[in-house]
C-alpha cells in the first residue's frame, strides 16, 4: 500500500561519523537514529529513499559568498590555528567548531535539500524530506548557531526557478534568521517563523515587528513566543496563522523546517510541545496538498529528535505509528518506556491568552496589508527579461529535461500563474 503522495526521502549514512566536538549539543548521529527508527517502523516501504549528491562549492556559492565557501572547504582542525582572523570573520569557533569532515557534512545536507527541491521542481514527487537539512541560521558570509551552509536558502532558490511564490515555515524553537534575512527584501518568499523570543534567546531576532522591507515588506512573519508554550495554544496559533498565510499568499510550494528543539525536554529549547503537537503542525501543512519540502533543523535531545522525525515521516506518509518502538539498533536510547510518546514538559507556560491574541492580531494585520496592497496581489511580477549571468560550470549540458516533463510544467504553470501579466512584453505579444 502506498500513500497517494509520492514521497522522496533523503539520507546519507556518512552523517553518522560527523562529530562536532565534545559537549557540542549538535549530534548528526541523531540522523542515524532517526533513519533507524524510520526503517524499524518499515516506513521505507512507502517511499523512495535517495542518497543526495554532495553539493559542489559552486552550488553553495549561489547563496553564500565564494570566499566563505572556499574557506569552509579548506579549513581543517589541523590548520585552523593559522587562520584565526578568518575564523573570527566567518564566526567559526565556539558555536560552529571546525571539525574533520565539516565540509563534507555541509555538502551532504545542502545537497539533500537541493536535490529535494529539484525533485519537487521536476514533479518527481509531492513531498521531499531531508532531515539532515534545515540549518536555518547560516548567513551568506558566516556560520551561526551550528549552521554553516544555509541549505534552506539554497533549496528555496532552487524552488524559485519554478515557482512564483515560496512559503517558508519554521517551527524550530530558534528564530529562522538566516532564511528570513536572505529573503527579507523579496515578496517571492514569505518566511513564517514560530520561535522563542526574548531573554536574549538566540539569535535575538524575530520580533513580531520585523516584517520585511521594500518589496518584501510584510513578507516576513515572526511569531515570537515565550517559554513553555504547550500543544494546545501552539497548534491553535499555528493553524490560524498558517491557514491565513496560505489563503493570502497562495504559495506554489511550501518549505517546512521542523526543528525538534521546540519539543519538551530539549537540551536547548524551552517549549512544552509534545511530539504529537509538533507533528500536528506537519499534518496541517500537508493538508494543503501543495508540493512540500520538509527539513529537520535543531533538536538536541537526540532520542526525542529521532522519535519526532520518525513520527513526522509517518504523518507525511499518512501512517500512524504504534507507540511501542520496534526493536532496532538504538533501542536502548528509547528506554525506559521504549515508546514514541515523551513526557510532557513541565516548564511554566508564560504565554498568556492575551499575549498570544495580540501576536496573532498583529500578524493578521500585517497579512491584511498584503491582501489589500494591489501591487503584490496575486498577479505575477512582470518579467524583466533579465538574463542572469550563468556560470557554465553550473550547467550540465548533458542533461536535458525530457519533453514530457517540460510539457507537464508548462501546463501546470498556466494553471497556477495565469493572471494578468500587466507588462509591456505581453501587450506586444497580444
Amino acid at each position: 500500500m502506498r500513500s497517494k503522495d509520492r514521497i522522496s526521502y533523503f539520507y546519507d549514512g556518512d552523517v553518522g561519523s560527523v562529530y562536532f566536538g565534545p559537549n557540542h549539543p549538535m549530534k548528526p548521529h541523531r540522523l542515524c537514529m532517526t533513519h533507524h527508527l524510520v526503517l524499524s517502523y518499515k516506513l521505507h516501504q512507502k517511499m523512495e529513499i535517495y542518497r543526495p549528491h554532495k553539493a559542489y562549492p559552486v552550488e553553495l556559492a549561489q547563496f553564500h559568498s565564494a570566499d566563505y565557501v572556499d574557506f569552509l572547504h579548506r579549513i581543517t582542525p589541523d590548520t585552523q590555528h593559522m587562520f584565526s582572523d578568518e575564523l573570527v570573520k566567518y564566526n567559526l569557533g565556539e558555536d560552529c567548531p571546525v571539525f574533520e569532515n565539516l565540509f563534507e557534512f555541509c555538502q551532504i545536507y545542502a545537497g539533500g535539500t537541493i536535490d529535494a527541491a529539484c525533485r519537487l521542481n521536476n514533479q518527481l514527487c509531492d513531498i521531499a524530506i531531508n532531515w539532515a537539512g534545515g540549518l536555518h541560521h547560516a548567513k551568506k558570509c558566516e556560520a551561526s548557531g551550528f549552521c554553516y551552509i544555509n541549505d534552506l536558502v539554497l533549496g528555496i532558490l532552487e524552488l524559485l526557478k519554478h515557482h512564483a511564490r515560496v512559503l517558508y515555515i519554521d517551527i524550530d524553537v530558534h528564530h529562522g534568521d538566516g532564511v528570513e534575512e536572505a529573503f527579507y527584501f523579496t515578496d517571492r518568499v514569505m518566511t513564517v517563523s514560530f520561535h522563542k523570543y526574548g531573554d536574549m534567546f538566540f539569535p535575538g531576532t524575530g520580533d513580531v515587528k520585523e516584517t520585511g522591507e521594500r518589496e518584501g515588506k510584510y513578507y516576513a512573519i515572526n511569531v515570537p513566543l515565550k517559554d513553555g508554550i504547550d500543544d494546545t495554544s501552539f497548534t491553535r496559533l499555528f493553524k490560524s496563522i498558517i491557514s491565513k498565510v496560505v489563503e493570502t499568499y497562495v504559495p506554489g510550494v511550501i518549505v517546512l523546517q521542523c526543528g525538534a528543539d521546540s519539543l519538551a525536554g530539549d537540551r536547548l529549547g524551552c517549549f512544552n510541545l509534545s511530539i504529537d503537537g509538533h507533528a500536528e503542525c506537519v499534518r496541517f501543512v500537508k493538508k494543503f496538498n501543495l508540493p512540500l519540502l520538509v527539513t529537520g533543523g535543531g533538536g538536541y535531545t537526540k532520542e526525542n529528535v529521532a522519535r519526532c522525525w520518525a513520527v513526522e515521516t509517518g504523518v507525511l506518509l499518512d501512517t500512524e505509528l504504534p507507540n511501542e518502538i520496534p526493536d532496532n539498533e538504538y533501542i536502548k536510547y528509547f528506554s525506559p518506556e521504549y515508546s514514541l510518546r515523551i513526557p510532557s514538559g513541565h516548564i511554566e507556560n508564560l504565554n498568556s491568552k492575551s499575549y498570544l491574541g495580540t501576536i496573532k492580531a498583529q500578524v493578521f494585520e500585517n497579512l491584511q496589508s498584503i491582501q489589500h496592497a494591489p501591487g503584490v496581489q496575486m498577479q505575477e511580477v512582470p518579467p524583466d527579461f533579465y538574463i542572469p549571468d550563468f556560470d557554465e560550470d553550473e550547467q550540465n549540458p548533458d542533461e536535458r529535461m525530457d519533453q514530457h516533463t517540460q510539457d507537464k510544467q508548462i501546463q501546470r504553470d498556466d494553471e497556477y500563474y495565469e493572471g494578468d501579466h500587466d507588462n509591456d512584453q505581453n501587450m506586444e505579444d497580444v
Binding site: 542515524c32 518499515k42 529513499i49 520585523e210 535531545t301
Partner: protein
C-alpha cells in the same frame, strides 16, 4: 511636489519684492515656520517610545515621497507629511491602514465612513470627513492605483535610491551648517539647546532620519539644478548661505532646498505671477506643509518672528474644488472657463484662476525636474566610487567661507537678491559663486554619502531592531519571469530505495508494518540485556536481508553494537581509559592517530556513538532511569571540569545561551 513649493516661494518672493528693505527672514519664516509645537514634537519624538512609530511612519512617508518623485513626470505629487487646516498632523500611514482595514477607498466612500476613518486615524474634530477623503485622494489613492499597475518596480527602487543618495548629502550639509552657527553668534544662547539637540539628532540618527527627508532632499536637488540652469542667480544663492549662517531662521537641510527653489520661484514671479494673495496663500499653505515635513528635524529658534497666521483652508478649498469638478464636471455651479485671452483679466478670487496658476507653477517644476533627472541618471555609479572626497571637503569649506563673507553684506544683499533674480540670466561662467556652490552641493552629496555609507549605508535604514543587519546577507532573487527557468535535473539524488533491480531477497517478514515491539517474547528474562540484544540482532538480520545493498549504502553495517565486533577487548579498554583520563580532548583524541593507529577517525566516532555511549545509556537505563541524559555525553568530563558545564560560560550571543533553562534533569 516641487510645484507647490515654487508657488510657496513665489509668495515669499513677492513679499520680498514688495518690501525690499525688509529683511529676508520673515519671508523665509513663512516657509519654514511650523507651529511652535514642532519643537515640542521634536523632543517628544526623541522619546524612545515614539521612535519606533516614528520610524515606521517615516518609512512610509519616505516611500510615498520616493514614489511621488518617481511618478512626478506624469503626475503631481504632494509634499509630505501634511497638516489639516486646523494644524493637525495627518499620519498618512495610519490613515492608509485604516482605510484599508475598512475595505479600501470605495468601500469607505460608499458606506460614508470617512468621519470614522478620521477618528481612527487619530484626528480630532468634527467635519473631518471631507478633508480626510481629500487627503486620501491626493496622497494615497495615487499610490494605490499606481501600485495596482505594478509598473517598473525597478524604477521605483532606483528613484528611491537616488533620493536617498541626495539626502545624505543634505544631512551632511545641514550638519556642517549647524556647526558654524553653533560656534558663532554667542548672543543667541538661549536657542542653543535646540540646536545642539538637533545636531546630535542629526549625528546619531543620521541613518534613521534618512527616511523622513529623503524624498524632499531629492527635491532639493531638483531645485538646485533648476536653479543653476535657469538663473545662476548669485544673490539668491548667497542669500541662502547667509541664511544658513544667520541662525535665526531654522537651520537645517531643507532650508537650503527651499531657498533654492525660491530662486526659481522668483523668476516665475518676475515673469508672470503678480497675484500676491493667491500666492501668499499658496505659499503659506505650502509653508505649513513644509514645516510638517521637517517635523522633528526642525527646530524653530525664534517663534516670535513667526509672521501672521494665515488661512490654510484656501488651498484646500481649491483642491476640493478641483476634486468636485473632476467628479462632476457638468455641475452648473462650476461655471465655464472663459477664453484663454481673457484669463489675465480675471482676479485670483476665481477658483479656476488659482488652479491655472498652480498648474503653471507645476509645469515649471517639471522642466526643472527633467534637468535634474539628467544628473540623476549620470549618478548611477555608486557615490562610494567617486574618489573626490578630499576635493569636496575642501570645496565645502570654501563654500562656508563664501557664506561668512556674505553674511557681512547681508542687508544690501537682499535687495539685490530679489532684483537680480528678476533679471538674472545664465552667466555661463562656471566660476561664479553660484556655480561653485552648485558644485559644492553636488560634491557634498557625494561626500556625505560616502561618509554615511560606511556607518549608515542606505540599507541600514532597513535594519530591524536588534539585527546586526548586513545587506550582503540577502540572497539574489531574480524577478519572476512567469516561466520556469532551466532546471538542473542532474541533482535529483541517487535512488537507494526501492532497489533499482530486485535483488535476491528472502522476504520472510510477515509482521505488519510498524507493528511495534512484541510485548511478550520467548526469552528467559524479557527486557534483560540478552533479550534486547537478541531481538536487536534478530531485527538487524531481517533488516539486512530486506534491504539488500541499501543496508550497506546506509552504513547500517557500521552501526549499532555490532561495531564492537571489530574491536578487541584491549582496544575497548584503551578507548575507555583514554576517554576517562582526558575527556575534554575528545576531538583531538578522535583525530590523533597515536592512540589507535589502526583505527580511522570514523571508526572511533562510530565506536563512540554506537558502543561507548550505548553502553553507558544501557547502564543508565538500569541504574539511574530517572536521570538519564544521553546528550550530556561527557558525564565524566562534567565531573572533571568541576561540574560547571560549558553552558554557563557561553556568551549571550551563543545559541548555547538558554536562560531560565534548567540544564540538568532534562527528563
Amino acid at each position: 511636489m516641487a510645484g507647490w513649493s515654487m508657488l510657496a516661494d513665489d509668495g515669499s518672493a513677492v513679499d520680498c519684492d514688495k518690501s525690499p528693505s525688509k529683511k529676508l527672514k520673515p519671508s523665509f519664516c513663512v516657509d519654514l515656520e511650523p507651529d511652535w509645537k514642532v519643537s515640542n514634537k521634536f523632543s517628544e519624538a526623541c522619546a524612545e517610545s515614539e521612535r519606533e512609530l516614528d520610524k515606521l511612519r517615516c518609512d512610509f512617508e519616505g516611500f510615498l515621497r520616493g514614489f511621488g518623485k518617481e511618478i512626478c513626470t506624469q503626475n503631481t505629487f504632494r509634499p509630505l507629511p501634511l497638516m489639516l487646516g486646523d494644524g493637525q498632523h495627518v499620519d498618512l500611514l495610519k490613515l492608509f491602514l485604516v482605510v484599508r482595514e475598512k475595505g479600501g477607498w470605495n468601500a469607505v466612500s460608499e458606506n460614508g465612513l470617512w468621519h470614522l476613518v478620521a477618528k481612527e486615524s487619530g484626528l480630532f474634530g468634527s467635519n473631518l470627513a471631507s478633508p480626510v477623503k481629500l487627503v486620501n485622494i491626493k496622497f494615497l489613492d495615487t499610490l494605490e492605483r499606481w501600485s495596482k499597475r505594478a509598473v517598473e518596480n525597478k524604477g521605483l527602487d532606483c528613484g528611491l535610491n537616488n533620493s536617498r543618495v541626495s539626502f545624505s548629502g543634505y544631512l551632511m550639509e545641514a550638519h556642517a551648517d549647524l556647526r558654524p552657527s553653533l560656534t558663532k553668534a554667542p548672543g543667541e544662547k538661549q536657542e542653543y539647546p535646540h540646536l545642539e539637540l538637533l545636531s546630535e539628532e542629526v549625528e546619531s540618527n543620521g541613518g534613521e532620519k534618512c527616511d523622513g527627508v529623503e524624498g524632499l532632499s531629492g527635491l532639493n536637488l531638483v531645485g538646485k539644478f533648476g536653479d543653476s540652469k535657469k538663473l545662476c542667480n548669485e544673490g539668491e544663492r548667497e542669500a541662502i548661505l547667509l541664511d544658513g549662517d544667520e541662525n535665526d531662521v531654522v537651520i537645517k537641510e531643507k532650508q537650503v532646498c527651499l531657498d533654492s527653489s525660491e530662486s526659481v520661484a522668483n523668476v516665475q514671479d518676475g515673469r508672470n505671477l503678480c497675484d500676491n494673495e493667491v500666492n501668499s496663500l499658496v505659499a503659506e499653505q505650502d509653508g505649513g506643509k513644509r514645516c510638517d515635513i521637517d517635523d522633528d528635524d526642525v527646530v524653530i529658534l525664534d517663534p516670535g518672528r513667526f509672521c501672521v497666521k494665515r488661512k490654510r483652508e484656501s488651498l484646500c478649498g481649491m483642491l476640493s474644488w478641483i476634486t468636485g469638478v473632476a467628479k462632476n464636471p457638468c455641475d452648473r455651479a462650476v461655471g465655464s472657463l472663459p477664453e484663454c485671452s481673457k484669463w489675465k483679466s480675471h482676479g485670483k478670487e476665481e477658483m479656476w484662476k488659482q488652479v491655472l496658476l498652480a498648474r503653471e507653477a507645476i509645469f515649471l517644476k517639471r522642466q526643472v525636474d527633467s534637468s535634474a533627472d539628467q544628473w540623476q541618471k549620470a549618478q548611477k555609479m555608486h557615490p562610494c566610487l567617486y574618489d573626490d572626497q578630499l576635493g569636496s571637503t575642501y570645496n565645502f569649506r570654501e563654500r562656508l567661507r563664501h557664506g561668512k563673507k556674505l553674511n557681512s553684506e547681508k542687508t544690501t544683499f537682499q535687495a539685490q537678491a530679489c532684483s537680480e533674480s528678476l533679471s538674472a540670466t545664465q552667466s555661463g561662467s562656471d566660476k561664479s559663486p553660484c556655480a561653485e556652490v552648485m558644485k559644492d552641493g553636488v560634491d557634498n552629496e557625494l561626500l556625505g554619502n560616502t561618509d554615511l555609507f560606511t556607518e549608515n549605508s542606505a540599507l541600514d535604514k532597513y535594519v530591524p531592531k536588534g539585527i546586526s543587519w548586513k545587506p550582503r546577507s540577502k540572497a539574489e532573487v531574480q524577478e519572476w519571469t512567469g516561466m520556469t527557468s532551466e532546471s538542473d535535473t542532474k541533482w535529483l539524488g541517487t535512488r537507494v530505495w526501492p532497489l533499482e533491480k530486485v535483488e535476491q531477497r528472502y522476504l520472510i517478514e510477515r509482521d505488519p508494518i510498524g507493528k511495534g515491539r512484541q510485548n511478550s517474547c520467548g526469552c528467559e528474562v524479557p527486557g534483560s540485556i540478552e533479550c534486547i540484544r537478541f531481538h536487536s540482532g534478530e531485527k538487524k538480520l531481517r533488516v539486512k536481508r530486506e534491504l539488500g545493498s541499501a543496508f550497506y549504502q546506509w552504513k547500517f553495517d557500521e552501526m549499532g553494537e555490532e561495531v564492537k565486533l571489530s574491536w578487541t577487548k584491549e582496544e575497548e579498554q584503551k578507548f575507555k581509559a583514554t576517554l576517562k583520563s582526558n575527556p575534554a580532548s575528545l576531538q583531538t583524541f578522535f583525530r590523533d592517530q597515536k592512540f589507535f593507529p589502526t583505527k580511522s577517525r570514523e571508526d572511533l566516532v562510530s565506536y563512540y556513538f554506537n558502543v561507548f555511549l550505548m553502553e553507558r545509556r544501557g547502564y543508565q537505563n538500569r541504574f539511574t532511569p530517572n536521570s538519564i541524559d544521553s546528550d550530556d555525553e561527557e558525564l565524566e568530563s562534567v565531573l572533571v571540569t568541576n561540574g560547571t558545564g560549558q553552558e554557563a560560560e557561553k556568551s549571550p550571543s551563543s545559541i548555547f545561551y538558554s536562560p531560565k533553562k534548567p540544564h540538568t534533569n532534562l527528563r
